[in-house]
Amino acid sequence: MSAAVTEGDTTAGAPSGGVVVRDILKQFPGVVANHDVNITIRPGTVHALIGENGAGKSTLMKILYGVQKPDAGTISVDGTEVTFSSPTDAIKAGIGMVFQHFMLADNLTVLENVVLGAERLHGIGDAARAEVARISDAYGFGLDPDMLVERLGVGQRQRVEILKVLYRGAKIIILDEPTAVLVPQEVDALFDNLRELRASGHTILFISHKLDEVLDIADDITVMRRGQTVGEADPKTATKKQLAELMVGSELPSPETEESTVTDHVLLALEHVGVVDDTGRPVLKDITFSIRKGEVLGIAGVEGNGQEELVETIMGMYRGTGRITLDGKDVHHWDTRDRREAGIGFIPADRHKHGLLLDAPLWENRVLGHQTRPPGSNGLFITASDAKADTERIVREYDVRTPSINTNARALSGGNQQKLIVGREMSGDPVLLIASHPTRGVDVGAQAAIWDHIKRARREGLAVLLISADLDELIGLSDTIEVILRGALVGRFDPQSVTPQELGSAMTGGGDA
């Protein structure tokens, strides 16, 4: 660790104003979204909050903006403790928020959008227009109050959103991944605006996982991982590599590496696979790799570099170019169901989105993905009793904590939901398991159990494609690691010898490794 990065003790230093967050705890039914969250935001600074997707940034933001109430912990603004029960309270305390997805009415003008909902401040007439023009000029926004929003570009719309919170008197502005939607020139313009705001005494909380930008704009950096704040960094001295390590973590107990069980039998092979998205932009470029029986291939990469598309292409949810063979057979014309029937198990990255029917009982979730095979069905009818019996088995063997297999999946905690999915996907003798972030958002106990199950299956000859943001998990479980960057495989590593630092550097394009 460099001197600039102090891990752990984030409570040090007396707050001199701004926002101070102490020991925030937020539980959702079955999931702890935030715990031990501590941040000190100095007034008049740009403070960056970084972390992988799912690290708990969004929950913290919503708490700061009054959308959700914390279960424990305190928030102070300028030394006064505050409690928000709605965004209105947050705005009163001077906190404004710009969401990633803009909330603007296209068919209204800039002025109307800004004034909408805040008519009491300056009315809707000339006073309001003057105020909008004043703010726009003061920070170099260059917005015409009478322009229809539908005619504005993305960068301008974002400035309208910022103008909206300034108009409402915000001194502290939260920006949720503001650069995600911008092209580089617009990012530069945004940063110029932010510097203007900082110069005029505003405080900015900037949420991102793009390390270059964070180092460029921030005065302070707080890192979140697994729902808690894990460290602070000084952008003047910290490196991308150090930040990446903090984000993905390297201090957790590593899954133990085991003896190789890799055979010569190639089970899954991708040759020159490419995919373009709806807009024609390539999201996967010339992917070639193979996985043998008993082999775990790990894919490392910063999120959003094509991992999802890779998984969905192998599952048949996307059609791409190139050739995919499963156990020697070309699967190009197979749909998702054909591929599943051929023995592909799939642990999706987002279990709520792709893995579960939340409002259906556990045993029906057991059938999901196995609708055409026993014990779920006999091809025509659902065989409920067989499916229920097998669900009991999964609950037992995978230690799914549930009152009953008739309980709806929604009622279970995240970890137990994930164990159910792992148990399901391991059922029916799969030959290939695609595991996308298999332990994300689950507790430590469930994590170890899931690792054990994957290792056992590997010993029994299962081929595994493992995608994870957790580098320790990748290194501990994989026989080979490929690094994906902007849709292409850019490096191949041996987990026996690679370090998280080397991986982190490859994942960010080798910047300052």
Binding site: Q27, P29, G30, V31, V32, H35, R226, G227, M315, M317, D335, T336, R337, D338, R339, R340, E341, F346, P348, K353, H354, G355, L356, L357, L358, D359, A360, E364, V367, L368, G369, Q371, T372, S377, G379, L380, F381, I382, A384, R401, P403, S404, N406, T407, N408, R410, A411, S413, G415, V442, D443, V444
Partner: protein, 362 residues
């Protein structure tokens, strides 16, 4: 836990409809009194014990409402909003009446043929919306509404040009006597018969109940409705499911007027009963898209409509007021179910926490 599960089911099954019913009684009473009529008279008429004749009519009407609601519910179960039941059953009724009227097939075979024609026409009309949705991304809400209008205009054109003169209007050729079904007369002839083909509602209800709850197809359909992304990842071909569900929905819609056609009307013409399709959508919402719920909803609606008939004779209230009651019942049920569901979910969550200790903490 099992006792709480039973409690929950009971609450959902009884509490929500009860709340809804009370709310709608209150709202309707307010409407009736605003209209300047007597609230007592109104409910007196609505809750009069039905005569034999009324029972027969309620049974017959329930069967048609049930079929219409079932058709809508199939789509709703997978988030497909088939607003076009109206057009589908109207066009199917016209086609089946024309087919049966032509009398190409002898006797009862003619009925079977006409039923198949009705199902095919309904299915095709709904299928158009399904195909447009999966190939062109057209919202089925928009396309089915437009198809309703097209169906009406098309029938008008065909009747005007090929229909038989019938008083001031036009109709299809009446179906031959050998193909008519007299029905079952439980009481005197004056009270009328329960139409033979009301049995279609029972058959369709039982079949759909099995298909949705017990078959793989039904599982895929429900999975798509609950979580389309997960369904896709599980191997469901959603586009194909959309088309198939629309076809099934349309085929059932095609049957809606068949009990009346063979039991009473004998032809398609001016006395054709409109609006069953739209009312069916309301009944489907009322019955939470479950066949049993729809059954109760259909009986309730049929009861209200039938009992409302003497309102203007006895209590000097426009029978249209009962449509207010029907609309209010649906809204109240939808809201009451959501309230009770949330309440129950919170309750279950608390129970789960207690039962499993504090394991939730990471």
């Amino acid at each position: 836990m099992s006792s709480s599960k039973i409690l929950r089911t009971l609450a959902q099954a009884i509490l929500a409809p009860l709340i809804a019913l009370i709310v709608s009684v209150i709202v309707t009473s307010i409407v009736v009194s605003i209209a300047g009529a007597s609230i007592g008279d109104f409910w007196d008429v609505i809750f009069t014990v039905p005569t034999h004749r009324n029972w027969v009519n309620i049974t017959n009407q329930s069967s048609m409402l049930f079929l219409a609601a079932l058709a809508a519910a199939i789509g709703f179960r997978m988030n497909l909003f088939n607003i076009g039941v109206e057009g589908q059953y109207t066009l199917a009724a016209f086609a089946a009446a024309a087919f049966a009227g032509a009398g190409w097939l002898p006797g009862k075979l003619n009925i079977v043929g006409a039923l198949l024609v009705a199902m095919a026409v309904g299915a095709i009309w709904a299928g158009i919306a399904g195909v447009l949705k999966v190939t062109r991304g057209v919202s089925e809400v928009i396309s089915t509404i437009m198809l309703n209008a097209i169906a009406g205009t098309m029938i008008g054109y065909l009747l005007n040009n090929y229909g038989n003169q019938y008083g001031q209007g036009r109709r299809t050729t009446p179906i031959p006597g050998s193909s008519q079904l007299s029905g079952w007369t439980p009481w005197s002839a004056g009270d009328g018969p329960i139409w033979t083909l009301t049995i279609l509602a029972v058959l369709a209800g039982v079949t759909m109940s099995i298909v949705i709850n017990r078959t793989r197809f039904g599982f895929d359909l429900r999975a798509t409705g609950m979580n389309e992304d997960a369904a896709v990842a599980s191997g469901v071909k959603v586009k194909r499911m959309v088309v198939i569900s629309m076809l099934i929905s349309g085929a059932i819609a095609g049957l809606v007027w068949m009990p009346a056609l063979f039991g009473a009307a004998d032809y398609y013409g001016p006395p054709f009963q409109r609006a069953l399709g739209f009312t069916g959508i309301a009944v489907a919402l009322l019955g939470r898209n479950r066949p049993l719920g729809i059954f109760f909803g259909a009986v309730l609606f049929a009861w209200l409509s039938e009992q409302a008939n003497p309102l203007s004779l006895v209590a000097d209230i426009s029978p249209s007021v009962v449509q207010v009651t029907q609309g209010v019942v649906v809204l109240a049920v939808v809201i009451a179910y959501e309230v009770v569901r949330r309440w129950m979910a919170a309750y279950e969550q608390r129970e789960l926490k207690q039962a499993l200790g504090t394991e939730v903490r990471a």
